[in-house]
Symmetry: C4
Subunit: 492 residues, 4 copies
């Protein structure tokens, strides 16, 4: 027999707190203090239906995994649950109007276009979570800008009729030298979440890296793969190593072909744009100021399990629990790449976590330019595969990374934006545009295959220039009278 | 006997497609799949008069050359052809109003002024085709900016009463050290097309390079030359070498004095600004999204014949079919200049195709500064003539290039803009302004003739600095309270 | 018996000038020519109540100290004093409206936020005094910008579960490696003045440096300290060394633990923003232009006693009058740090006085990077403690300074702004935010304690780049047609 | 007997052209073709009173000197001359309104302030003439910007109680290390012209350099000097050396103490802002386009006599005709400074003519940093005095130049702007402000006299960085969502 809305509504306090998720009731009273996102956000829905809030930030198996079966109260007769009348806010109305006017997909000609559209059509909180970076977002922007400091030295008069930019990563043959890197909370952008990316990756034969903090469950994402489609696992290491072990070995059993251990996030970042949106949240009473620490944005809410004690001495243990190649994701200096070789892992991702962790961390492409000459000097450049991610928006960015010695590049946000704005067709078009650009630019740089890319094709002299914007002389700028083009005749 | 409009109008489908061009009817049914610009654009005019669309992007001899005579259906009685009523769009009305207010020619004081006027008075599609560059247009802008990294070290107290800035290029005596470089589709800017440039070049005694993709036919442009006026041929190499041979030998016979083989365009560029204008095109139904690949802007439409397989091994063949000096246009690194000397060509143009091909290709002037010291060290600086193009807007730009060792510079877009805005008088004034600037600046740098220009007159230390705009600290900028000049008294 | 308002009002001229301060009357006729801020400002209040103007820029014991007791005329019956009707200005009304709309404290997520709020809610004159810098304020902005030229080289896979960022400065154990540096005129920002900072410093266990030019008296600030709270004394050296001696020995007796002698201000700066506000001052008649020299902003008004003759030969004398450690505040080049070691002081603050003195002085962080390698080379890095101040806004700024060898950093304006906007809770939150950032960023850089910070963790190659904004090509910028993202559909 | 207006009015054509200047009539029919500014501008006033146009750009003795006495027709009865009713243009009305609202002089706190005011209150043509530079005005702006690349390394704890910044230039003792450099057409800015500067220079005991192209006559300017006031002569060398000789020897006889021969202007610059104002000129019919060459702005109109043939071989001749020290003004590279020493002149001014001649000429301060080390290495630094001009706006600019080895700096435009806005009191205040800044900054850099200034006090590492603004990634900038400060509460 189902529970009624009225019954649930009676348990609406810290003393007895029931919530409805996907038509079922749960008693979360005892769980309140343990909730990584704080008790307040749950109490907001005490006695009510929390599905809409719950959905995008918890994989569907969350309650099964973390809430004792005794607290599963069974199905609710949803017809008896009071509907919350949500007046559509003016902001939401404007957003709906923007959605109605959205450009058609064919009007997007490059990866930036998707970001531009997504910014206009996504919910503010979702946009804030995806687009935010650490502190002043200086590293986040540097990631893309760094590519602009590298210029080409193209070859001419090379036969480039046939272009082949397929390559292999960790033994997998892929059509293009990039992979879909792991990003959290896919359902913030699209109701189906990460499986959208899985299907698009299949279409273009590139690898998808599955995030620990996915909105879909790991198995859903694996199930969405077809045929011999290859996936990797991104791992945040749990303080409880048994949980980690279970996750890793399950992934291996399901067929994952690489284990990417995140090493740049002992604590998830302070992203102020994300934090600020909390104050716009309907019904938020955080403004009282009494409990600010529990409201630090989505990133903090979902990451309290991550072990800040993870260290080099844990690596052998990982090697003991899996046969998957192990790649350290988030290495940021040559000394650590050398150490990675020494501890015997199969690869590193030079990455600063998309500019979401430490502001003023250098870009992956810059670290790459520091790392590869040292590896080559030692003859170690074949002892591990080096990937980078962060700021990749153009095929020229990819080509630059490969010229400098990367095996492939990870792309994250652009595909999230394409998915958020246009769903799977959006992601597919984003990949197709990269393909078009790749073909064109491989030709223009004078290379018909990936193995021809080499450092002599790029000029990186500016790459280490970190000069920030320098102080401006406001007085001088104000009084300066700039040249203007001729005025129109009627102005005379 | 002429065909009637009604007869033509019956053949308005993919199954039977007739079109009128310049008062004659053609059966293009079988040609549809072969059309480099795609069949869709032709079908739009099936059964109708296509002259206005056809004109600017096809030389007049196109149909004779590429459509079998059996498909030439003969003259049409144009009085019987239904006139298409084209309502003038609001954008077009605004443009006409801007044309009415155009500054008079004498108000243009430099080459930028023409660009400014042209931008306001040209049709959007024409402006997009001329002004667009590859990807983010970073190389396009770098081309001009690069000159700004070079500063002068002028000499004083040199007798500069008489200034002579004539020089020779490939044996031809010219009045100024620049030439009109090849640019496609002149009729987009002016109904008469490239011959306007021919006449202006004659007036100022400079060389014109004739483009393969001209709107006028090659012979029309040759015919427009007067007396001993010198012209060169720019060549896109056709996959069918017989066609190429015919073009080259015809040009030589007609008196062309130089063969400039384009080597930086195995495939014509993705120029997004150009691509975007397609969606504004009257009657375009590309928005359905079904056939986007056939609508990639004017550049793609006209260039499918170009051979991406062209390579160094083809050069001896060119030397075997012509006695014209051969110059490789689009060389971009010193290694390839050395190879050019070794294969025995007479010159190179250091160029990135006006920033229209590979974004992040370096500017011609920067490559020049890399090339010349190497050539001089080998004693090879007299074994070929080195030209540059891209971004030249001021006489100081020309002087900088010559100081560094260029024999001359090519100028393209500025003359197109002058022509589009003011016709032949515009081009002539543009050249005259360069002449005025040359005279002034030769004096101010302390040189009375071209042979006195040398590297000691320039400071190029900044030329290799590629630092892109660096990340800005938005918070800091927002809160900073800038100094202001004193408020006016009434404000107190 | 009290004096009446009428009696006072009769003495309203240069010949006989009485003023009321805090309910007591004073005869300042003879003092007029000696007033450091000029006689004009006193005459404005001749015969009237000057308390509101007097309060923020004079410590309460000023009149006792500097005006002979015979001029203390005794209490005034304030009921008999004519109230000055001050019409609220439109600017003040707008300011009050802004105060009413102020964000709540919890909406401030970083130190910049306080500055942003303070700018909107502070009185114009107070804001101008706090926020102004020398000349074009180029050094002031450089102070913060300089940190942006330093990038991190973080370590990964270090156990950072427990983070300890406590350290010691001049023997005092502190919770965080910063101190509240000395800033003048605290009551401009908050009615209680510097004691607000004292209390907040106690809460977070950091040191406060007491300014010579405080609004509160020295003893008030000492009295506000609790328990073993540590304070230092910032000293402007008086031309009359006896006064200086008295101040120093009094401070030592009261328990001050460090003597910071300001050496970068032989004369206080010209701060034009501060100077300009004088013209907005209610009742100011400086506009007559007759006496401009006496109206050079608050800085000049309060600093005429400072001795521009202070020199290295004075240092032994200071060592003879106190046992407190002596630190030179405002050292700006390595040669002077070496000399500081040689004369035997205990520390230096590399500082340019918050950009308020010499424009184009380099930032403390840049001088630090110049100083430490030289000290290390001589093995002198432990012979004195090196501090820096200026531009610190983020925990990453602090960490960068410590990586380069600083013992701690001083923070001034940000706490003033937090205090001005939100009082003591504001200052406490500002410190808490730094604490949150410190914890996060220590983890992300891979260090669990202060002593692990070292130069290999930062990339300072850009630090000495002083390139100013370079000339812009206005014509080129004007005519350039930038790429745009796709227009919305309704725009077609 | 006086001529009547009617009589004059009859001679209003190219065939017979009379004009009135200062109440006297002149027959200029034969002079028309010789007028350096073209005949058109005279014909505009044929038969009329030309005084207002004539006045600012011709010294009063012009007609006596250049027009044969036989053409002097004698006094005119001005009451009979038809008054020209000039309707006040809307622009002029706005300008008058801006003048009425002008800030009072005491509100100007630095040299930029005068420029800001002048821009608002000067006539457009006068502003254009004073403020314009060559081509894109890049050198003009670089002149000031270059100082921003130099930072200080100040000394502390130096006794700076007494500051003495007097020095000597060419043997003359001056109160401050700058001089008023020569600038043309003073009456465009102020009805009295250059004598205003003479009187202000006297007041502050600095040297004035008298321009060849003054609005006042040379003797008027000499006569305005008082006591032992020192003046120098700036010389444009006439094609007719006899005229030059007469000018030089007359100047020496009148007491000039230095001969500054301009060597950077064989032809006066193309200043487009100046040229453009011609089209706004009341009554200008240049728009017909028929005679554009005669309308190239004020600079061209007044300079046709200058000899572009002037060269090093002329220097001995100058030494033979005068005992005044000879200084070459406008030297721009170290090679030419060496040659200057070798030909035995007494000094050089490193200058690019205020950015009015060759665009991309380097700044004087940069050339200084190139020159002095070479001179010192040869032990030649005392064999001539080195001055610079261009871009000096702050005392810190002056101090930087002196640290690097300049004997003094020339200041031009700032005094013109001060004069144009506020007359002599403006110029005096401008000089006083520099004095205030000098005193302050000498103290802050730790120097009590000019001879203590030396290269160790400045950091010039950035001085040779010429990187221009680099291409911007427009797409990236457009889509980037910047951090914002917290929204105000009412916005929630």
């Amino acid at each position: 027999m189902s529970l009624s809305g009225k019954q649930i509504a009676e348990h609406n306090s810290r003393e007895s707190c029931w919530v409805i998720v996907h038509g079922k009731a749960y008693d979360v009273t005892e769980f309140l203090p343990e909730h990584p996102g704080g008790s307040k956000i749950i109490l907001k829905y005490a006695g009510k239906d929390a599905t809409e809030e719950f959905e995008p930030i918890h994989p569907p198996d969350t309650l099964d995994k973390y809430l004792d079966k005794s607290k599963h109260l069974g199905p609710v007769d949803m017809g008896t649950v009071a509907k919350v009348e949500k007046a559509e806010s003016p902001e939401e109305k404007e957003r709906q109007a923007r959605i109605a006017r959205m450009p058609i997909l064919e009007q997007c000609y490059n990866l930036m276009d998707f970001e531009s559209v997504a910014k206009r059509v996504m919910k503010q909180t979702a946009w804030a979570y995806y687009s935010s970076g650490a502190d002043d977002e200086i590293t986040m922007r540097e990631n893309h800008t760094a590519f602009h400091k590298i210029w080409f030295r193209p070859r001419v008069l090379i036969d480039v009729e046939k272009i082949d930019f397929s390559t292999t990563m960790l033994g997998t043959k892929v059509d293009m030298p990039f992979y879909v890197t792991a990003t959290a909370l896919g359902k913030l952008g699209h109701p189906e979440g990460e499986v959208v990316l899985t299907r698009a990756a299949k279409k273009h034969n590139v690898v998808q890296m599955i995030p620990t903090l996915a909105s879909c469950s790991f198995d859903e994402i694996m199930d969405a793969a077809e045929g011999d489609q290859v996936q990797w696992l991104q791992l945040y290491v749990n303080k409880d190593r048994e949980i980690t072990k279970k996750i890793v070995q399950h992934a291996e059993k399901r067929g994952c072909k690489g284990l990417f251990i995140t090493v740049d996030a002992p604590q998830l970042g302070r992203r102020e744009k994300d934090m600020r949106t909390k104050f716009n949240d309907v019904g938020s009473n955080v403004q009282s100021g009494s409990q600010t620490d529990t409201s630090q944005g989505a990133a903090r809410a979902i990451s309290s399990f991550i072990d800040p004690g993870l260290s080099w001495k844990d690596i052998p243990w990982f090697r003991s629990i899996t046969k998957m190649p192990i790649i350290l994701k988030g290495v940021q200096r040559v000394e650590d790449v050398i150490r990675a070789v020494e501890v015997g892992v199969q690869g590193v991702v030079l990455s600063n976590h998309g500019g979401r962790q430490l502001d003023f961390a250098r870009s992956g492409i810059e670290v790459l330019a520091e790392v590869m000459p040292v590896l080559r000097e030692r003859g170690w450049d074949n002892r591990l595969e080096v990937f980078i991610d962060g700021g990749v928006r153009r095929a020229t960015d990819i080509i630059k990374a490969l010229c400098l010695g990367a095996k492939g590049v990870g792309i994250g946000r652009p595909f999230l934006y394409a998915m958020s704005a246009y769903g799977q067709p959006g992601v597919e078009r984003a990949m197709q545009l990269l393909k078009d650009e790749m073909e064109m630019n491989m030709r223009l740089i004078g290379c018909s295959s990936i193995d021809q890319l080499n450092p002599s094709l790029v000029d990186t002299r500016a790459l280490s220039m970190h000069a920030a914007n320098v102080p401006t002389d406001n007085l001088g700028q104000f009084v300066y009278d700039p040249l203007v083009v001729p005025k129109e005749k009627s102005m005379l």
